[in-house]
């Protein structure tokens, strides 16, 4: 893949990755306006950016808590430019600054709050399903349509190979640039998306292909058409059928795991989550809107919902947390993709060794245990 990321790299001679391509900064505003459950999401990016019309927006806006990192990166790049321009050797200064940068990135990302994690999961440069496909799926053949109503671009399905395993891939696609985002409804799938995924998964089960599901959605699409065509029914059927699919199913939350829309592709033998992804019953904005009566408390809600990877692992909701490269997947997409590939390879090896009845029994028991710790018999 990397094509997309090379576009984003404004200075190819720099070894420091700069996430500031035009495609990166653009589109933050429409995304916020259209985000299904978060019509008034607080600033994910620096405030000023919201006041500028999308076309006139300066490039290179990072997340608020990333500003010191971006500043240091700029300094390094300026120094490199100066070095080239004037022929003076700033090698030792640059090395030192890079050391500082790495330390700063580590310190920042080691102590992200829940709300900051949500921002990282929504980072415009974070790799999405199609990026993972380009990076780790060989011979991907996309398959379209639910054969009932339409082809939903918010869900991508197709066959391919990951680490040598022939698989059926299903995943949400949020869209990279504004045009793609609108086509994909920002990753909010309609019933067609879930029905298409189910159809392809059943095809996979019929011919013994394992299913790999990449989850990245703010939630299922809340609209009239979506309700009319039975979004709830589509998700419900997926939950039931995925729990019984006679082939290994591995699910990975790569970005946002928003509610039923995420779960609709998320029932399987294993559920992993990327380090800076989130997964919960509702978006922080939605939760804030209901329990605080306004979306201003999204940060509090994010904290309260315990939606970060480490908390989910403690709660037994996810089986494994996939570590991201230093500073998050958006800084090193390839590193993130390799981590996902290794996880899928290792997990599929294990799951493929199990006879199907045993696999299904374990899958059922895995789901059956959910919530055990949150119960108590009144004494």
């Amino acid at each position: 893949m990397a094509k997309r990321f090379i576009h984003g790299k404004t200075n190819p001679s720099s070894t420091v990755r700069r996430r500031r391509g035009a495609g990166v900064g653009a589109g933050a505003k429409p995304e916020r306006m259209n985000r299904s459950i978060a019509p008034t999401a607080p600033a994910a990016v620096v405030r000023e950016s919201a006041k500028v019309a999308p076309s006139a927006r300066p490039v290179g806006m990072g997340l608020a808590f990333e500003q010191p990192i971006l500043k240091l990166e700029r300094q390094i790049n300026e120094l490199i430019a100066l070095q080239e321009q004037k022929g003076i050797d700033y090698g030792s200064e640059i090395t030192q600054l890079r050391g500082n940068l790495a330390a700063l990135v580590k310190k920042t990302y080691d102590h992200l709050s829940a709300w900051e994690t949500v921002q990282v999961a929504r980072h415009p440069a974070r790799p999405q399903t199609r990026d993972y496909i380009e990076m780790i799926v060989k011979d991907f053949e996309e398959l379209h349509g639910d054969r009932r109503f339409a082809d939903d671009p918010a869900v991508v399905t197709g066959t391919g190979r990951i680490a040598g395993h022939k698989i059926m891939l299903v995943g949400h696609q949020k869209g990279r640039d504004t045009k793609e985002k609108i086509t994909c409804n920002f990753g909010c799938a309609h019933p067609e998306g879930y029905r298409k995924a189910l159809l392809k998964m059943q095809l996979a089960a019929k011919f013994g292909l394992p299913v790999v599901s990449l989850i990245d959605t703010p939630g299922a699409y809340p609209g009239v058409g979506s309700e009319e065509r039975g979004i709830a029914e589509a998700i419900a059927v997926n939950l039931r059928e995925m729990s019984q699919l006679a082939t290994p199913v591995v699910c990975v939350v790569i970005g946002e795991g928003g509610s039923g829309g995420a779960l609709g592709l998320g029932v399987g033998d294993r559920l992993a989550i990327m380090q800076f992804a989130w997964y919960s019953v509702i978006s922080p904005e939605g939760c804030s809107g209901i329990l605080w009566k306004g979306s201003e408390n999204a940060a509090d809600a994010a904290e309260a919902l315990k939606l970060t990877s480490s908390r989910l692992e403690q709660l037994g909701v996810v089986d494994e947390v996939i570590s991201e490269p230093l500073g998050g997947a958006h800084r090193h997409p390839r590193g993130a993709a390799e981590a996902v590939e290794r996880y899928i390879d290792r997990t599929l090896r294990r799951l493929k060794a199990l006879p199907i009845p045993e696999l299904l029994e374990q899958r059922y028991q895995r789901l059956r245990r959910q919530g055990e710790a949150a119960l108590q018999e009144q004494g």
């Binding site: 299922a220 809340p222 609209g223 939950l239 039923g260 939760c287 919902l305 009144q378």
Partner: protein
């Protein structure tokens, strides 16, 4: 997707908000009369209760508690409750404007049950069934670990004993205060239902006002038969969320039972006074 809580708790559309617990008036004995939100007429409470909590004038179906539902549907005195002692622990130590712990205690007090659902075996016109009734009074009938577990145990018992399963849903969706754990209850119940389905079990899903969010998107939409009470609000996303997204007024009757019937997601709309006989007939037709 529990956006629905607030909207459904306060208002089915433009109706007066306080019909569940009328305000105290100094000069009127409490609750003797009440205002029907369906026809906006003053009706005699006793008469309304005698008609299975429907308006004697316009047949508006009032929301009822799980206990009332169980008494109304089952043959008198036959309900054997399961897992009544199961209670929620506040595993996330969830705290919004109020703590979840406090909310739980209040809900237990006002609803007189331990969590948002009653499950157990009962008889409907002499036919043994596994009955599940959700209670909107308990945190909007939301599904957390307890509701998910009780329903799953009910499904598993119905599978073992080959009992028809009847679930009356009345719920705002998954319970936010339990985070991803409540979301997982959707998968758990759907998986248990998958096994029940494979074993040839009969599941009749009854949708009462309101059935939304994670409840609709899991077991409620998976019935062999799906019946809805008249005008029940049934949907996935809350109407306010949808209106905010599409920036338009929603069509009249959107997400009401009649709308779902028209769109093909409900088998029949069954008024409350016909529900018992309809259920009994279904069970007979399926040879259960």
């Amino acid at each position: 997707m529990i956006q629905n809580f607030t909207t459904t708790m306060t208002a089915p559309a433009s109706r007066p908000a306080r019909f569940v617990r009328p305000h105290r008036h100094v000069d009127v004995p409490e609750g003797l009369w009440l205002n029907c939100p369906g026809c906006n007429q003053i009706i005699y409470r006793k008469q309304m209760e005698e008609r299975l909590h429907t308006c004697p004038l316009c047949r508006h179906h009032f929301r009822i508690s799980a206990r009332q539902r169980v008494n109304m549907l089952g043959d008198p005195g036959t309900f054997e409750e399961m897992d009544a002692d199961l209670i929620a622990t506040d595993i996330l130590a969830f705290h919004a404007r109020k703590s979840y712990h406090e909310q739980l205690q209040e809900a237990r007090k006002t609803s007189q049950i331990n969590d948002g659902v009653l499950t157990g075996r009962t008889f409907i016109k002499g036919r043994a069934v596994l009955l599940v009734a959700m209670d909107f009074q308990f945190l909007a009938g939301s599904m957390g670990a307890v509701v998910g577990e009780k329903i799953t145990r009910g499904m598993e018992r119905a599978t073992r004993e080959n009992l028809p399963l009847v679930i009356v849903s009345c719920s705002g969706g998954a319970r936010m205060q339990e985070g991803a754990i409540s979301l997982m209850q959707m998968a758990k119940t759907a998986a248990a239902l998958g096994r029940f389905h494979r074993a040839g079990g009969l599941f009749i899903s009854v949708l009462a006002d309101p059935t939304t969010g994670g409840t609709t998107a899991s077991f409620a939409m998976l019935g062999d038969f799906i019946f809805a009470e008249p005008k029940a609000m049934v949907g996935f996303a809350g109407p306010r969320t949808i209106a905010n997204t599409i920036k338009m007024e929603l069509p009249e009757g959107f997400q009401r039972a009649e709308f779902l019937l028209k769109k093909g997601f409900v088998d029949r709309i069954v008024p409350r006074d016909e529900l018992r006989s309809t259920l009994a007939r279904c069970i007979d037709y399926c040879g259960k």
